[in-house]
Subunit: 169 residues, 2 copies
């Protein structure tokens, strides 16, 4: 990210005013990362959803489908950890994907408790279309913040996630 000059970080910020709001004071909120993370997530998600249009896929489903495409045969417990969701949530979401014919599951012969998920031909096709739209969406975000800031943003977000998760334990 581009550095703001010393001491000018705040004043250099775009005037959020929460929306384009008159003169609402944010107080504590103005410095509260979680507040902006939530708003930014919501806006980004909505932008992606609009881009998807008819290929609508729930946010959780998109993450799962990507993980399955990238890691054929991944088990549900692995998906659960990777997506940061409970295994019961994964079960629910996977059933929807399976009902739509986008993925298939088969039992693992070496551990018959586990199910390996695979993308189907149809799922691959849908994923291809979604991937193209995801790229458009990603490019738009990158245009907004700039390539350097985008990479830095990802890096900082990952640092936050990893550190906070480690702290939980």
């Amino acid at each position: 990210m581009e550095r703001s000059g010393p001491g000018v970080a705040d004043t250099a910020s775009p005037s959020l005013r929460v929306v384009e709001n008159e003169a609402i004071k944010l107080g504590l909120l103005d410095d509260f990362i979680g507040y902006y993370l939530r708003l930014a997530y919501e806006e980004a998600f909505q932008d992606f959803t609009q881009e998807l249009g008819a290929d609508s896929l729930k946010p959780g489903s998109f993450a799962l489908l990507s993980l399955i495409v990238e890691n054929p045969g991944i088990t549900q417990t692995e998906l659960s950890r990777a997506a940061g969701r409970d295994k019961s949530s994964v079960t629910t979401a996977l059933r929807l994907l399976e009902d739509d014919g986008l993925i298939e599951r088969r039992r693992l012969p070496d551990d018959r408790r586990s199910y390996a998920s695979e993308v189907t031909a149809k799922g691959q096709a849908v994923y291809g279309r979604i991937a193209a739209k995801a790229k458009i969406h990603s490019d738009r975000l990158e245009t907004i913040v700039g390539a350097d800031d985008k990479n830095a943003l990802l890096r900082v977000l990952k640092t936050l996630i990893v550190s906070l998760r480690q702290r939980e334990r």
Copy 2:
């Protein structure tokens, strides 16, 4: 944020692996801001919640209470815009705050359709405690990412929010 050297942004990233996960490939997801925004929001929120402990206040309520403390007499429509929630959601959340005795509402004499919200003495006290805990939480996040990156993160998030909101219209 500290710049990574040219071309090393990715490799310089902390190895997220989604958690500390073996070797799950993220594919598209690895470059997908929305994915990390969601995970980061969830982790940050959970950290804040744990810090709050008994003074638990819902995330939406915290934002509303802050806005009321900072903007005494703010109306519900203004709160709605500021918090990025529908007015019906604001109504529901305000009633909880009112039931808990943290805020009061009074009709505006000049426009009897509107209600002005004010924090009560009790609400002020609760807010004081929460503010102290919010500071602890914020300081922790700042320690994790560093002061420069924190300011840059806020700046980039605000840019994203503002730009995407403008685009919607």
